[in-house]
Amino acid sequence: MDKQQFFEQIKKSVIEGNKEEAVALAKKATEEKLDLNEVIEKGYVPAIQEVGDLWEKGEYFLPELITSAECMKAAMGILQPELAKANIPTKSCGKVVIGTVEGDIHDIGKNLVASMLGANGFEVVDLGADVKLDQFIKKAQEENADLICLSALLTTTMLGQKKLIEMLKEKNLYGQFKVMVGGAPVNRQWAENIGADGYADNAITAVEEAKKLMGITS
């Protein structure tokens, strides 16, 4: 097999949002016993990066990004368990604990962010919606997370973002985890006022912000 050609096929499948093909190629990589980290790094990662570039150029829009993220998730669902079975560590941009705060059951925006983070190399622990604040902290500690992402869609529930940061301070955990906030009523000013490390107003900027917080990009 010509590896370069194989990586190009992978890139094409993700860029074009062809989930079946992206999955079939991941299966083929495992069957052919290829170096799966190389497959991820030279096939899937450049693909999702190119999708991001197309978005920046205005050629791709959120639906295309989401379709490509679905391809990545589906392919990683094949590759990562194989890597784990072989005790091969996977490269990660960081571990993220994400959820919508207590009292708020809106979760489509949070799901988009989780999906885009996952597609861009973050390990994502999604706690769902209506999550108790102490659950975010407990899970972040258990998972040794790098980043806590809090979504809130109401002016009443955004207060939970402030409260979580206060709780981190009370527990002497402030600074141990980076905190990123988002949601319809939230803006950068609010994020700064409450002491959050990052803010994103959509799933795409969330990836950029998370990478900045992890020191991957500046």
Binding site: G17, G58, F61, L62, P63, I66, T67, A69, E70, K73, A74, G77, E102, G103, D104, I105, H106, D107, I108, N111, L112, S115, L154, T155, T156, T157
Partner: protein, 200 residues
């Protein structure tokens, strides 16, 4: 004296171009790829079988309200809760669990538009009721629009039996379940000059 009513016969037509905008497209409709267009069409069909649009309303005399300043000078006040039910939200969750995020996003956008349409149609019916009473309706306002705080949703939920259309209120965040629900008020004035509405 208050009256209580229910509206159920909605004709919901969601425009595809509005969905394209909601899901983030800035392109012209004819430049959107056919896969996305077909997904919108199929999710639209699915939504039709999942939603149960319904509204419940009451028309109170001013004296029967909690006399919040937003009701000032109103002869009567119509309070309404609209919903499309929880079917679409459940399906969105299931799609997400199956990693069908784009379908979930499209269905959620369609459901939001449908919920908005139920509110618009309910609004028109209630504005008409104001005119039948020889009163002049204001625009529709929901709690959370200044100067009517979100916690005032409690007042609407106490004045109506929202469980009849399957809606409940979280007592701390004032969030409605299902999410695709809208509460609002319309003030009915005897003085046309107090009405903020251009069309009746």
């Amino acid at each position: 004296m208050s009256t209580l009513g229910r509206i159920e016969n909605f004709k919901i037509e969601v425009e595809e171009r509005r969905i394209l905008r909601l899901i983030g497209y800035k392109k012209k409709e004819n430049e959107i790829n056919s896969t996305i267009k077909n997904l919108i069409i199929s999710e639209k069909k699915k939504l039709a079988s999942l939603m149960k649009p319904a509204s419940i309303y009451t028309i109170l005399d001013y004296e029967e309200t909690n006399k919040h300043p937003v009701f000032e000078k109103a002869e009567k006040v119509a309070l309404c809760i609209c919903s499309i039910g929880s079917g679409a939200e459940q399906e969105v969750s299931e799609l997400i669990n199956r990693n069908e995020i784009l379908k979930a996003m499209i269905l959620d956008a369609l459901a939001s538009e449908a919920a908005g349409e139920v509110a618009r149609q309910s609004d028109r019916i209630l504005a008409q009721k104001a005119r039948e009473l020889n009163l002049w309706p204001s625009k529709r306002f929901s709690p959370g629009y200044k100067p009517w705080p979100l916690k005032e949703q409690q007042f609407i939920f106490r004045a109506l039996p929202p469980e009849e259309i399957g809606v409940k209120l979280n007592p701390t965040s004032w969030m409605m379940i299902p999410c695709k629900s809208t509460p609002f008020r319309i003030n009915f004035y005897s003085d046309k000059n107090l009405s903020t509405r251009k069309k009746y």
